[in-house]
């Protein structure tokens, strides 16, 4: 389970992103989030009604000719333009590359995940917006290289991907504490204001470097291989 059967080309950014986007709902749903499809459904609704309108126009134009259907065709063209504009607005203004919307079963916290990639850069750019029940919303942006959860052959490795999300997003971390990596503490150390004594700074710097050593000794490639053998 840890490594996907299917292989993708690691040089195809579209493949990297699509495979990761597909894995995201599977993971979040397994953590007790209930996925909401409203955004997709509205988009499909708008799109298919525009398409149906076009099909109808084609049919009556084909059967009754241009002149006798001119009035209806004019209206159809206007409505199609409106529907298509609404669809474009929905995709750019509302969906904004959203790949997942869900609510946690127990806490009721809403999570919305938007992902994108920049051209020619194998970096997964994730924006997670969480809204608690009482309306407090936080936005977290994470940029991580795809190489973190794809092996050299192009297999998707589940564990590091889940760790990446659980470690960087507090809400996911709470729902899946097992996948939170210790290195997350390093960030907290960085955030602390520097109004400590020289000795304290030294101590923390030493602590940091030892953590870093610990992290680098267990390189992702190695750990992926180990898991591969297990599976």
């Amino acid at each position: 389970m840890a490594v996907s059967q299917e292989k993708i080309s690691v040089y195809s950014l579209a493949d990297l992103k699509n495979t990761t986007d597909d894995a995201l709902p599977v993971y979040l749903n397994s953590l007790g989030f209930v996925q909401s499809h409203t955004l997709t459904d509205v988009r499909l609704g708008l799109g298919y009604s525009a398409f149906a309108l076009c099909a109808a126009t084609f049919y009556w134009d084909y059967t009754y000719g241009f002149d006798s259907t001119k009035f209806y065709t004019t209206i159809a063209v206007a409505v199609y333009t409106i529907l298509n504009t609404a669809l474009t607005f929905w995709i750019w203004g509302v969906e904004k590359n959203t790949v997942y919307v869900g609510t946690h079963k127990t806490s009721g916290t809403k999570i919305q995940v938007q992902t994108k990639t920049d051209k020619f850069k194998a970096v997964y750019r994730v924006t997670v917006i969480t809204t608690t029940k009482d309306g407090k919303s936080t936005t977290k942006k994470v940029d991580k290289a795809f190489s973190g959860w794809f092996d050299a052959a192009g297999h998707f490795v589940t564990r590091p991907f889940q760790q990446m999300l659980a470690t960087n997003v507090e809400l996911i971390g709470q729902a899946d504490p097992k996948n939170v990596v210790v290195a997350a503490k390093k960030e907290k150390v960085d955030e602390v204001e520097d109004n400590r004594s020289m000795d304290d700074k030294w101590a923390s710097l030493l602590a940091e470097s030892s953590i870093e050593d610990a992290v680098t000794s267990g390189t992702p490639a190695k750990s992926a291989k180990k898991r591969g053998k297990k599976a």
């Binding site: 299917e6 579209a14 597909d22 499809h37 997709t40 459904d41 988009r43 499909l44 799109g47 298919y48 525009a50 398409f51 076009c54 099909a55 126009t57 084609f58 134009d61 000719g65 241009f66 002149d67 001119k70 065709t73 004019t74 159809a76 063209v77 199609y80 333009t81 298509n84």
Partner: protein, 172 residues
């Protein structure tokens, strides 16, 4: 690729993307049609009968509305003849009467005789309603592809083959 088929929403979205390309192209054509009031606002010249004005393969843009003035002698018009479904591009050379009932005669610039031979049997003139538009603009040569495709059907097979190959070679 396969995972997309397992998820019905994703499959629906993918089909929709393809459908919207087709439907938008069709609706743009219809929009142009409605604006110019012509059932076929863009036509390709098929014969050399209007040389030197138009060559085979020229793309013509038509306008079929009469603002301020009627269609007048000297305009190049595209008309349909009853019983034939190929539109003809020729110049309007004679006009008798006014309005919808005016009797119109057309002739190709490069033809020695007028079009009475081309009209349907027993028809000596055409009327305003036979005209599907006057030529207002043209792009030389770009329509030649459609002529090639209709005259050499094997080219369609070649083109489909190349498209299929491209689809197979680059999976998006």
């Amino acid at each position: 690729m396969l995972s997309a088929l397992q998820n019905p929403r994703q499959a629906a979205a993918q089909i929709l993307n393809f459908g919207l390309i087709l439907s938008t192209a069709f609706m743009m054509w219809k929009g142009l049609s409605v604006i110019s009031d012509s059932p076929s606002p863009i036509v390709v010249v098929l014969s050399g009968s209007m040389e030197p004005a138009f060559q085979r393969g020229d793309l013509l843009f038509l306008w079929n509305r009469n603002f301020m003035e009627e269609t007048k002698v000297g305009e190049i018009v595209v008309y349909n003849v009853k019983g034939k479904n190929i539109p003809i591009v020729h110049r309007l050379v004679r006009k008798f009467g006014v309005g919808e009932a005016a009797k119109l005669l057309t002739k190709g610039d490069n033809n020695s005789a007028d079009d009475t031979e081309l009209y349907a049997k027993g028809q000596d003139y055409i009327e305003r309603k036979d005209i599907i538009g006057s030529v207002v603009a043209y792009i030389p040569f770009v329509g030649y592809v459609t002529i090639l495709l209709s005259e050499h059907p094997w080219l369609k097979t070649v083109m489909l083959g190349i498209m299929g190959l491209v689809v197979v070679l680059q999976r998006e």
